[in-house]
């Protein structure tokens, strides 16, 4: 009898959950999980009739009322109201120009997955159909996390709670704009399932192409569809427990992974970005230096890919021998993401920011190499 305390929402799931806890305990006693679950389920069916109802868990029984059929219905609407549709770059070669996000403050802070969609200033459409131009407040490449801000107030939002004690077996809803199904004022899609496992993705490096190295929730629902990234994973008690990750496919088996990033690993990064402790916005207070005093691509020995687009990503094309960049072991195809914590959206931003750094000073870059996010220090 672990958790009879709260959860006025749904006795059904309460009971189910309780039941799962039992299964878990059993598993800890040395039985294989799957067999146990199947067996427990079997017992529930075959013994149910024979069992004295009074023997069933009393507190749960007391909680019983006629709300049997509510299930997810009550949790869906509030969750949908906190999820937004995000539109941005893409639309080519199977790259969808949309994804999902969710509100984490009444003033319009949204958490979403950091992706190519955010390569342009994104547009956010809220559940009520209102449309906003959003600003990217901060990104955390290693968590594939981005925080956006829209100019609005009094919005419904998810609290970023601590110590949620999420465990496998927890029933969850995944709420997202998968496949871009919801348009205008249509509500995001809700899907139900449970957390099937909690594990790390990097057990076999290279299997999944993601820079994320932390824990993930494996979901038994098909949550990670195109456009679902950045959606909310909400537990049976209505609490936000995670963010739907970008689509990942096992490079060996071709199996698509259904997973979410736990809130606990995102929480402090989100908090820091919102609190302004970390900002990836360019710092305007540093003056632009004369050309012969500041850093530039030549002083670094860095050659980027041709800047032919309005917003060309800062991909390294080649490195001059014995240059600063070579010493720092930068390599062709590295993508420069951050300069001293400031987001490098494109090459123009990068060269502009370099103008503000004295060429005698050292600075840091955050780069993406393959699916790794790496810090690099350039020391003159």
């Amino acid at each position: 009898m672990i958790r009879q305390t709260v959860n006025p929402f749904n006795q059904d799931h309460m009971a189910t959950r309780f039941f799962e806890r039992q299964s878990r305990d059993r598993m800890r006693n040395g039985l294989a999980g799957l067999i146990c679950l199947a067996a427990a389920a079997m017992l529930s069916a075959s013994h149910a009739a024979a069992q004295d109802p009074a023997a069933a868990a009393a507190p749960v029984q007391q909680a019983a009322n006629d709300s049997e059929q509510q299930n997810w219905t009550e949790q869906s609407r509030p969750a949908q109201q906190r999820v937004a549709k995000i539109y941005g770059a893409g639309g080519l070669r199977g790259l969808e120009a949309y994804q999902s996000g969710f509100l984490v403050s009444p003033e319009g802070h949204l958490v979403t997955a950091w992706s190519y969609v955010l390569d342009v200033a994104p547009i956010v459409i809220l559940d009520d159909g209102r449309r906003f131009d959003a600003e990217i407040v901060g990104i955390e490449p290693a968590l594939e996390l981005a925080v956006l801000k829209i100019d609005a107030t009094n919005l419904p939002f998810f609290k970023l709670e601590k110590d949620l004690q999420v465990q496998w077996g927890d029933p969850v809803l995944a709420v997202s704009n998968l496949f871009g199904i919801a348009t205008g004022n249509e509500a995001a899609s809700v899907m139900q399932g449970s957390i099937a496992g909690i594990t790390k993705l990097d057990a076999r490096r290279g299997t999944f192409k993601t820079p994320y190295r932390g824990k993930v929730f494996l979901l038994d629902l098909i949550g990670n569809n195109p456009g679902a990234a950045g959606g909310a994973v909400v537990r049976y008690d209505g609490k936000l427990v995670g963010m739907i990750g970008k689509e990942l496919r096992d490079s060996e088996t071709g199996v698509w992974l259904n997973y979410a990033l736990p809130l606990e690993t995102l929480r402090s990064a989100i908090g820091d970005i919102i609190a302004g402790k970390v900002s990836t916005k360019p710092k305007e207070d540093q003056p632009i230096l004369p050309r012969d005093q500041s850093h530039n691509l030549t002083t670094l020995g860095l050659i980027l890919v041709p800047d032919v687009l309005e917003s060309t990503p800062a991909y390294v094309d080649s490195i001059k021998k014995d240059s600063l960049a070579a010493v720092a072991k930068l390599k062709p195809d590295d993508l420069i993401l951050l300069l001293d914590g400031q987001r490098i959206g494109d090459q123009k931003t990068f060269t502009e920011l370099l103008r503000r750094i004295d060429r005698r000073d050292a600075f840091s870059l955050t780069i993406q190499r393959g699916s790794d996010i790496l810090p690099v220090r350039l020391q003159p």
Partner: protein
């Protein structure tokens, strides 16, 4: 939910009779190893019992559809004890008029095609051989909400070769979804989205609520890069839409959906406004103009263009519905007649091109990059989302499951000619423009029979009554002439063009046109009257219940006779002369079942009210026995 689901899974298995033994073995092992028996909370037990009950309620009405000769199949659901069932157009289209259907009672029934709605992807079929088929309880899909538990029962991957359907469970992921037309025909309006597994072969089958009530007809899924299997997104046509179409489908026709004759757009400041309107549309005649703001449609408030399309897309061509709009600061509540999305020939042409191509030679990789894939054997453009940046989905070639739903199986084997048994053959009648004319004939006979109970086949009809201002009014209808006399004025219709003009100009003589159509119908019978057929059911004056509508064209005027669904009483005769003007409507008013008054209306205005109505028929032929044949010779009908 995991344990929960496994109980259901296990339960389902018990029902279906698979893998139970394995689990039982496991169970006994476990109970031996752990001394304390597992205590199942009562709520879990209750929930499980409720689910068992719902599945037991729902399963018998689920139909597994198979093409005779192994040419594919799908699912369906029974909605009447006589065997009428709903499925998808794209399930029946490869089959033609005859198919085999299995129920969970383990029996296989012959079935014939009844009606088709290619735009809404619905088809009605009739199972034969019983008059006590188990039927689904129709729910109210408008009351459904995202998060509601639901289940899909059907024939995925055509697994139900033992005739036991597969049950999958989930929740409604979204309601009121609008899915853009896929290819040139299909449009899913106001549909339900679910995460219950929907796979090829589930098409046409039922989506039930957690109580086992029918919420929708499964139709398509978002299948993208993961191959042609469930990716957690399936769509069902709402049962409320299907309900609107039941009468139309039962007519044996190929039916079309409604449009407004205007396009709308969501105003950035909120609300939905008219962005274009046809001057010939009924909406225009009722005062709707460019920039009018539409507030309500068919009783549902609308605030976006999708809302409007969600209502219109669920309505059949030809319905007249209430509408509220604001024009120049004035709120107008009125009725509007909805034209069809397609012209009749256009629909048939498009439908023919939507039919599956001849069976392909073994699976050809990479030829179907569809994203909203519902018709594996049909070539279409991928569905478009409104976002202009939306990607063209690029799918690696999915592996086709072995038995191929909805289409001929792999190997390219041409279907063997199917031998249709005589009892099914008797219920199939091909006619251009109809899915199965047999059912139209049945309905015509039913309606005509009902009219015969009310009106004799008299050659001359004399009607007298009083107008609103107390004047005497007389109407005389005969083969030679039709005259209306009001006080000392009288109008006479002689030539064919007189009839047309009377309706077109909207004068009192239009009443003669409407009533004379009835007189001639009773005298000649439907076959001799002109091109006559049963149209379906529609609201009268925007109001339910839905009335039976029989339609007959004669002398370039289209007549519609609308009859009450229960009493059969003729309530209104509509006469359409020019498509761009209001029809004449003769409303028949009853007092205690006796016809006592008439009301001639144009648009939404009453033109002439007649009370204290008396009718005299010449008692020439009032017998039920084949009136049409007897009088046909004497009536050319053309020379009036």
């Amino acid at each position: 939910m995991t344990a929960f689901r496994i109980t259901t899974f296990q339960f389902t298995c018990q029902l279906i009779g698979v893998v139970v033994i394995t689990l039982h073995l496991l169970a006994s092992q476990v109970s031996a190893e752990t001394n304390s028996p597992v205590v199942v909370p009562k709520l879990v037990q209750q929930a499980e019992q409720a689910r068992i009950k719902a599945i037991n309620k729902a399963r018998p009405s689920a139909v597994s559809v198979f093409m005779p000769g192994g040419g594919g199949g799908g699912s369906g659901v029974l909605i009447s004890p006589e065997g009428y069932a709903l499925t998808n157009f794209h399930v029946t289209s490869p089959a033609g008029s005859y198919m085999k259907c299995g129920l969970s009672d383990g029996r296989v029934y012959d079935a014939v095609l009844v009606g088709l709605d290619p735009v809404g992807d619905l088809a009605m079929i009739k199972l034969l051989g019983r008059d006590d088929f188990p039927v689904a309880t129709l729910g109210d899909s408008l009351k459904s909400k995202a998060g509601d538990e639901c289940m899909v029962i059907g024939n995925p991957f055509l697994l139900a070769t033992n005739l036991q359907p597969t049950v999958t469970y989930g929740i409604l992921s979204g309601v009121g979804r609008y899915q853009y037309p896929s290819g040139t025909l299909l449009e899913y309006a106001d549909c339900l989205q679910t995460d219950a597994s929907i796979n090829p072969g589930n098409s046409g089958g039922p989506l039930y609520s957690s109580q086992g009530d029918l919420l929708g007809i499964v139709g398509r899924g978002s299948f993208e890069k993961r191959g042609r299997v469930n990716v957690g997104v399936g769509y069902a046509i709402s049962i409320n839409q299907a309900k609107n179409f039941l009468g139309y489908l039962s007519s044996g026709r190929i039916v079309d959906h409604a449009t407004l004759g205007a396009t709308v757009t969501t105003d950035p400041d909120g609300g939905v406004v008219v962005s274009n309107i046809l001057e010939s549309s009924d909406a225009y005649r009722r005062g709707m103009r460019y920039n009018s703001e539409i507030l309500e449609l068919a009783g549902r408030p609308v605030s976006t263009a999708n809302d409007v399309q969600n209502v219109l897309g669920t309505l059949p061509n030809g319905w007249r519905i209430p509408i509220t709009f604001r024009e120049e600061g004035k709120t107008i509540e009125t009725l509007v007649r909805l034209p069809g999305v397609h012209r009749r020939d256009e629909l048939l042409t498009k439908m023919a091109s939507a039919m599956p191509p001849p069976p392909p030679v073994p699976d050809q990789p990479g030829d179907k990059p569809d994203n909203q894939e519902d018709q594996p054997q049909r070539r279409r453009r991928p569905a478009q989302r409104p976002d202009p940046n939306a990607p063209q989905p690029k799918a690696p070639k999915p592996e086709s499951p072995k038995p191929q739903p909805h289409g001929p199986g792999p190997g390219g084997a041409r279907k063997k000619p199917v031998k249709i048994p005589p009892q099914a053959m008797a219920l199939i009648k091909n006619r251009e423009g109809f899915a199965n004319y047999y059912f139209n004939q049945q309905n015509q006979d039913r309606c005509f029979k009902s009219l015969q109970d009310q009106f004799p086949a008299g050659e001359t009809w004399k009607l007298t009554g009083k107008t609103a201002d107390g004047k005497d009014i007389k109407l005389l209808l005969s083969n030679e002439k039709c005259v209306v006399s009001l006080g000392d004025r009288s109008l006479e219709l002689k030539a064919k063009s007189d009839f047309f003009d009377a309706v077109d100009t909207g004068n009192d003589a239009a009443l003669l046109v409407a009533l004379d159509s009835l007189r001639r119908l009773m005298l000649l019978g439907p076959e001799k009257f002109g091109e006559t057929y049963y149209w379906g059911t529609m609201p009268l004056g925007g109001q339910r219940p839905l009335r039976d509508c029989m339609l007959g064209t004669s002398q370039e005027i289209e007549h519609r006779w609308l009859m009450h669904p229960e009493t059969g009483a003729l309530e209104c005769i509509e006469a359409f002369a020019d498509r761009d003007t209001d029809p004449a409507e003769a409303w028949l008013e009853y007092d205690n079942g006796k016809l006592t008054g008439l009301d001639l209306r144009f648009g939404v205005e009453s033109k002439r009210k007649i009370t204290e109505l008396q009718i005299e028929f010449d008692a020439q032929t009032t017998s039920d026995a084949a009136p049409a044949k007897e009088t046909a010779a004497a009536n050319d009908g053309e020379d009036q």
